[in-house]
């Protein structure tokens, strides 16, 4: 009996030993949270035409630090392409519109790795999610807005527009599309994918944003003989609520945006200007002046104003962070031609 017990004891001990020696099954690494939502901004470095040096920089508000070449660092040194125009974050995906590579790249926001692409589009500019499975992409040269099935990542159709289409905003079933070569903002019925109306604004309509009243503000860069202007309209009835003369300007995309409360409008017209949504005119004195006409990107978040300077659009530009009073806090080197700033 003792022998049996002893043998059993050895067996148990042995099995414990073997169990103990069994190599542990490697644990699935937890997906590291790359970004702190609400504390992150992405800088779209457009790069130089035909140089293939477009990249994404990642700015961390908490650390006040920037990580350049972020796309290639997260994608095994892969190339992003040529001239990234914009980035739109939809849920856990990011859509990067790579203009001169004629495609939209899809990234996972969990790890910022490329998961797919949609192509070809002649000269894509901006991406706008319309429904769960449908998106629009505006285009510089094709005179069409491309319709995309985002479930299948395929091109399913086009909306003829007969001009360069730029930024988009969605309000209900309406999609508002700015047209820089016209004095119009086109209104598209998202259910029928057809143009239903157009709103006459100033020449060179490009960037747009919502204010706290859900009215849409458009920056119009003007043209020879026509000053730049800010136009505010009601998206419900398409009626223009106010037009504010912004003076003469060399061409500017404006990068019009609001603060968190959406009660102030910011835009670039060589320098950075600020006005309340209730103002009737733009102050002659800029909010922030850096003595450069190469300011190229602008966003306002919490107490910070982020501005990119593309310098000569060939060498590396920089990102400057100002406080809400317009005092410079920090300047960081970004990539080549840093343009759009995307908050996350």
């Amino acid at each position: 009996m003792n022998t049996i017990f002893t043998n059993l004891s050895y067996l148990v001990l042995l099995s414990i030993l073997f169990t103990a020696c069994k190599p542990e099954k490697p644990e699935e690494p937890e997906t590291e949270q790359l970004f702190t939502v609400g504390k992150t901004a992405f800088i779209i470095n457009e790069g130089t035409f035909n140089q293939g040096n477009t990249e994404i920089s990642y700015f961390d508000f908490e650390k006040m630090s920037i990580s350049n070449n972020f796309f290639s660092s997260r994608n095994n040194s892969a190339l992003l392409g040529d001239l990234t125009q914009s980035m739109t974050i939809v849920g856990d995906k990011a859509y990067l519109v790579v203009n001169n590579s004629q495609k939209v790249l899809i990234l996972s926001m969990k790890d910022f790795k490329k998961t797919g692409s949609i192509s070809p589009m002649p000269s894509p500019r901006y991406f706008q999610q319309i429904t769960n499975s449908k998106a629009y992409v505006t285009d510089l040269f094709s005179n069409n807005i491309t319709i995309i099935n985002t479930s299948l990542n395929t091109i399913t159709g086009a909306i003829p527009l007969s001009t360069w289409s730029e930024q988009m905003l969605v309000s209900g079933s309406k999609v508002f599309v700015s047209a820089p070569l016209k004095d119009k903002v086109f209104v598209i019925d998202a259910t029928t994918d057809a143009i239903m109306d157009s709103i006459s604004v100033g020449m060179g309509a490009n960037s747009m944003c919502f204010d706290k009243n859900n009215n849409i503000w458009v920056f119009c860069s003007g043209s020879s003989g026509a000053n730049a202007s800010l136009v505010c309209f009601n998206p419900a009835d398409n009626n223009i609520l106010k037009t504010i003369d912004a003076g003469t300007t060399t061409y500017s995309s404006g990068r019009i945006c609001t603060n968190n409360a959406k009660d102030s409008i910011y835009f670039i017209k060589d320098d950075v200007y600020r006005l309340s949504i209730n103002d009737a005119s733009v102050s002659a004195t800029p909010f922030i002046s850096v003595g450069s006409s190469s300011l190229y990107g602008l966003k306002v978040k919490d107490n910070y104003v982020l501005i990119t300077n593309a310098k000569d659009f060939v060498q590396k530009g920089d990102l400057s962070i100002y406080n809400k009073s317009g005092v410079l806090i920090k300047t960081l080197e970004a990539g080549v031609s840093p343009g759009e700033i995307v908050l996350y």
Binding site: G52, S142, Q315
Partner: protein
Amino acid sequence: MKHRVATYWLPLLFCLSAFAQQQDTTHVLPPVTIYADAVPENKLQKQMDSTIVQFQLGGSLDQLLQRNSTLYIRQYGSGTLSTINSLGLNASHHPIIWNDILFNNPMNGVQDINLLPLWFIQTTASDANYINTGSSTSFTSSQNTEPQFDFYSTWNTMKNSSVGIKLKQNIKRLAVFAATIHSRNKNSIPYYNIYEEEKVKLSHAQAQQSGGILTLTYALNDWNTLESGLWYVTADRLIPPTMLQMISKAVEYDKQLRAYLQWTYNGNKLVSIVQTSINEDLLLYNDTLIALFATNHATLWQNQWKTKWVLNKRFLLSSIVRNQYIQSKTDNYSNRITQQRFSIQISPYYDWIEIKTGFRFSLNREFVLGGSSPSAQILEINTNLSKHLVLSQEVSSLYQLPTLNDWYWSPGGNPDLLPERSRKYRSTVRLFHYGTISLDNKLSGFFYDSKNTIVWRPSGSLWSPMNLRETHSLGLTDQVQLSWKNPFFNILLESSYTYNQTRVVASYDPNDMSLNKEIPYSPQHHSFSSLHLSKKNFSILIQHQFTGVRYSTFDESSQLRAYQILDFGVRYVFTLSKVQSDIILQMKNIFDTPYQTIAWQAMPGRHLQIQLQFKIINLKQKTTVEK
């Protein structure tokens, strides 16, 4: 690695064994000299065996220079726009001259050398017509060869093909030379796309080219000759997309017309050539993708009088008087641009026999109506140190005027652009020996100091020309030719290596990111070698080319990797009755090396090419040209 070695050596062994079975028939081709280096005329000219040219017969000048010269050729892909880039300077610094007339487009100063079929080029010649730039490529279409009828056809695995016909005939005092070509390039180019990270075929950059040439020479008497020439080439080419793009719908249509009328007096002590010529370029650019259509039309009328006067056995005087009238119209100029230029060039040469030294001083002065009047001076001293050793020294002060596009192109043109000035110093030692084993080695060191160098640089989405305050270019070139002739076989080995460093050393903008950086597309290391073995009717040609790292941006942030290419060709020549047949089989880019000469523009990977040529010789000659 093993399969690469096998790819290389097996055809070689096969050919060597085949040599032994052939009859001993030698076909002598006229020697051809290509003066096509980034050096002043008459210096370090690249002498090429005619067989090397023969292997490229169905191609254009770009293919020949890419593989066999120290020049850097920038090309957007096979069968598309290609230009000469020497020492980082653009093609307007490099005149292309045919039968004494300037080929370069007067708008941008550039000649697309893809539009120069080698089939039309009979001989090449050193020329000192445009000394102000310091380098040039010259060639002629000669009539004074035996009457013959020639046909060639090539086909390669990129689905590119070309055919050509050539006729030379003498009718009494009239010598006629006519040639025509037609090429169709499907450009189904296999290449590795480093952006998409996959091997793909570029199959939609199709191109076709047609052209003809006609020269007539009429001997008035023993001393006087009248000559006329016509060169006409059209091309319809899709511009290939970059590797970064999915689509290209850009099409370029070119029409190039060159014509001249010439009177030559060839006396005992005086040679005089009076020539009037026209250079007309029409370029239509149509990009349906971006709805861009542009027409560019430029014409250059030129009258020139060249003389060479032998005063005595020591003294020679050369001169050129020239008038140019330029007219350009394009959608990118606000209106039609015209320009008148006059220039005079005098080059006395003195041979100081006692000290075995020759001196040449060249002075060139150009007057632009309503503009600047720059001048160029060159002093050359050649000393025969021994029977086999020559030392050449050159000091020159040169200039380059901005082109019409530099000044007037909209958008981007810069009306404030200044003419470029440069000082060049070159020293060359030539060691040579001719015999059963011949050696010719030229070692040259150079230093160029250029002020206000004109370059086009990106500024936002626009490119614009600007003056770089000062650039320095220094380096050395060694060219060696080694040949061994014996009763059993002939060997010719040619090799060249160039080291060059061209940097921006001063800028008008203190924050200029190009300061102390290398000029784009200027490889520091560049070499080529060719080994030609011939025995009886067979010959083989092995060519190797190495191009070092090149920067593609002014701040050195982007670079193109170094590459080396190996080509291998076999040739078999045989004669049946009066028909000489010539078959050439080549494998190009044997190692399938991915490479680019312009950033993101794919160049062809490995491909095979076959070339057939039939020549009917000893055509019945009506009457020998009286000379």
